[in-house]
């Protein structure tokens, strides 16, 4: 009764939240649950849906191309989590954080975030030119420094295509990620740094024993976002390689996209989506469970 009264008392607040909640249900939750349901059907948009149980899942998991796409996405995920989401942005954030001049800090923050205004498709097309087998920048540099024997079709060679995809975005200083880590570092109370200084904890010692443990929350967030982005992602491959040569750059996201929009197999594509969802959920739980530090909680 008291609860009902409380809801009634704050009815205006609930009313304000209601449209967001309804839209969230329609555009986020309904498609996701619909995908779960549709994954059990042989279904194309506008066609009759035929219940086939777990047939889609069996077909996916026994398909050689899907297995290769999983291996590819594992390689991409390891790379994307370690390099563009952890190592490089943390180092850059540390460097900016440790600058003495506030003006310099500001300028570097702006410089790091500015490239974000460039549409990602433009960046991809620039990299396509860089990788061009015959007239690309990369091969031209290699030839001019006497390493011409290394020149190749970076995106057209199955041995290098996936690694070429990984290298896109060099030097991998993602603006948002750097800012997240920087905010984490700026959030650490000065008293901790002062105490550390008195104890002689400086340089790398401070980085590993104080800075890193105290930005674990930010690390968790960036790792989860990177996991989700990489496992679901396929835009780069769609634009640059179409999953090829052969299946060298095929990833589950692209496999799902092609099943849905090239071949009209929506039920099958939904099943791929469900598998991706389960994998992401599992990895997120693992991440939440195992990446933690007592220091993080103490700091809070």
């Amino acid at each position: 009764m008291e609860r009902k009264l409380r809801i009634w008392r704050y009815r205006n607040a609930y009313l304000f939240v209601l449209p967001t909640f309804i839209l969230l249900c329609i555009f986020n939750y309904y498609p996701a649950f619909s995908g779960l349901y549709r994954s059990l059907f042989d279904w194309a948009v506008g066609g009759q849906a035929k219940f086939i149980g777990f047939k889609n899942f069996i077909e996916i998991l026994t398909d050689k191309n899907f297995q290769i796409s999983v291996v590819n996405v594992i390689k991409l995920t390891i790379w994307n989590v370690l390099v563009p989401s952890l190592i490089i942005p943390i180092l850059v954030a540390e460097m900016i954080f440790n600058l003495h001049s506030p003006k310099a800090k500001y300028i570097y923050r702006v410089l790091v975030i500015s490239p974000m205004v460039i549409p990602s498709i433009v960046i991809l097309l620039i990299w396509q030119f860089i990788y061009d087998a015959d007239y690309g920048l990369l091969n031209a540099i290699l030839k001019n420094i006497g390493l011409g024997y290394l020149a190749r079709s970076w995106l057209g060679d199955p041995n290098t295509a996936l690694y070429a995809i990984m290298a896109i975005g060099f030097p991998w200083i993602g603006g948002t990620t750097v800012l997240i880590y920087l905010a984490g570092l700026m959030n650490i109370p000065n008293s901790i740094f002062d105490a550390a200084l008195l104890d002689g904890v400086i340089g790398l010692k401070r980085f590993f024993n104080i800075d890193l443990p105290l930005i674990t929350g930010q690390i968790k967030l960036c790792v989860i976002l990177s996991l989700i982005g990489t496992i679901q992602g396929y835009g780069t491959m769609l634009v640059l390689t179409g999953g090829g040569p052969g299946v060298a750059t095929l990833v589950p996201g692209l496999y799902m996209y092609q099943a849905a929009f090239n071949f009209g197999r929506m039920g099958f594509a939904s099943a791929v989506g469900v598998i991706l969802f389960l994998v992401i959920l599992w990895l997120t739980i693992l991440n939440m469970k195992y990446i933690s530090s007592p220091a993080e909680y103490e700091a809070q």
Binding site: Q128, D134, S153, D157, P158, T241, G244, P245, F261, N262
Partner: protein, 471 residues
């Protein structure tokens, strides 16, 4: 007097509203033929066009009770995805451009109107015509027949693939346009020897138009056997049902020596391709236009662009896929069998959608297409752009494209049983991936053949189940 005036005004309004209520509207999305907003040539508007708009206005004058509404698709929306969403949402135009393999996918959904009964009737806009179907070229029209044996798409224009070549480079190297496959390989070798990139094609990464032509020239004997198995005439369209039957009966088999020879020839030829042939996003057309590649496989649609492009500072020509002879392969036919044309209707292939049925305007939609497909109107529509060929007999055409028209007339992809997406689009993609891995040395010939046979059988089973074919 005042009263009479008021009565007349009311009567006028009533009659005009009645006319409005009786008037029917037929909507059309015509892909590249959609009129542009201006007729001014700009980099963003290189091919201004208005022929469809003018034809719609002329049609409206003939039929004041029918208005043709030309729909513009958002430029950023993918064609297929747009069609799927508009179909699902019940907002698809009454007449809609579509690739036939998309239509084939949609047949069980009842999204497209079977046009056979209309094609069997005369086109009233062509004097003496008894059957509308007779106005169109046989081969390219047969290519649009769906697996259930019906036509859902009216093929209005034609394109074909060919090899463009840089005449300046050819002259410097001292070679000419090749006629046979042996000559072709020789030309490529000489170009490479002289330091040029011999050949580029955007299709190699996704489909391989000339791959199909080469396959057809190597496997002519297998084609004969497939035709015999289904009692088909020696020429003309090979229906999907006959292909599925041939797969199931082992007549169409990737383990056959002819098939293996096809794959070997492709691998041998690949040493002359640009290094990045397997990368799907490369702008090979730009490489040719800048004079960086000597030969470029593309289609007639590039004709106008090459003619106008200020980047193209060299003389260029075009040749068809050269003929395979015994000089290259023991499997070549005697007498040599020329390559069949790849292409057909692409930019103007219109179907009538279920929305026309729902809105009761199927007859009007069909009538407008009939009006457009008179030789005069079809020529007017198609020739405005300058790089398509009318698929209507007797229509005027760009004289540059006459040889291509003659080639298409003799039969094209509808007669090529290896054509990638003949069974399912999914198989087309899978086969291409296997071919790429083989050509790039990731798998050997035996593995490639084994994987391909398995994918082919799966595609045949899918089609047999979908259409309930029994052999």
């Amino acid at each position: 007097m005042k009263k009479v005036f008021v009565v007349l005004v009311i009567l006028g309004l009533f009659i005009s509203s009645l006319n409005f209520a009786l008037a029917k509207e037929v909507s059309i999305w015509a892909q590249v033929y959609t009129p542009t907003k201006t007729m001014q040539v700009t980099p963003a508007n290189p091919y201004p066009r208005q022929a469809l708009k003018i034809l719609a206005e002329r049609y409206n004058k003939l039929h004041p009770d029918v208005t043709i509404k030309i729909i513009e698709k958002p430029a950023t929306a993918d064609d297929r995805q747009w069609i799927l969403t508009q179909m699902s949402g019940g907002t698809i135009p009454d007449i809609c451009w579509a690739h036939v393999w998309w239509v084939n996918e949609d047949i069980p959904k009842g999204w497209w109107v079977n046009l056979d009964p209309f094609l069997a009737q005369p086109n009233p806009y062509v004097e003496g015509n008894k059957k509308w179907l007779d106005l169109f070229l046989e081969g390219p029209t047969q290519a649009k027949i769906s697996p259930d044996g019906h036509l859902y798409i009216i093929p209005i224009d034609l394109v074909s693939t060919l090899f463009f070549y840089n005449k300046d480079i050819f002259d410097k190297v001292g070679v000419g346009a090749p006629k046979t496959w042996a000559e072709f390989m020789d030309v490529c070798a000489k170009l490479q020897g002289a330091g040029y990139l011999p050949i580029a094609s955007g299709s190699f990464a996704t489909f391989g138009w000339s791959w199909q032509q080469l396959g057809d020239m190597v496997m002519w004997k297998m084609e004969e056997d497939i035709r015999k198995l289904s009692n088909l005439p020696p020429t003309g369209r090979i229906p999907q049902e006959a292909i599925a039957k041939a797969v199931k009966k082992g007549v169409y088999n990737c383990n056959d020596d002819q098939y293996k020879e096809w794959m070997r020839l492709l691998k041998d030829w690949s040493k002359y391709w640009t290094k990045d042939w397997a990368a799907s996003g490369v702008d090979f057309a730009m490489k040719f236009r800048k004079g960086e590649v000597a030969i470029y496989e593309d289609g007639t649609w590039r004709w106008g662009e090459l003619k106008k492009d200020p980047l193209v500072k060299f003389k260029w020509g075009a040749f068809f896929t050269p003929t395979l002879t015994k000089d290259t392969s023991k499997f070549a036919a005697t007498p040599p069998r020329p390559a069949k044309a790849i292409g057909g209707a692409t930019a103007a292939q219109w179907g009538v959608t279920y929305m026309a049925e729902k809105r009761g305007v199927v007859n009007e939609a069909v009538d407008f297409i009939r009006y457009v497909t008179t030789p005069k109107n079809c020529g007017y529509l198609v020739n405005e752009l300058g790089f398509f060929i009318p698929n209507v007999k007797g229509a005027p055409m760009n004289p540059d494209l006459r040889p291509i028209f003659n080639q298409l007339k003799n039969g094209g992809e509808e007669t090529i049983f290896t054509y990638g997406d003949k069974l399912t689009e999914e198989y087309g993609q899978e086969r291409n991936r296997i071919f790429q891995r083989y050509i790039l040395g990731q798998i050997d010939l035996e593995t490639a053949v084994k994987e391909n046979q398995s994918a082919l059988e799966k595609a045949a089973d899918t089609m047999i189940e979908k259409y309930g074919w029994k052999f």
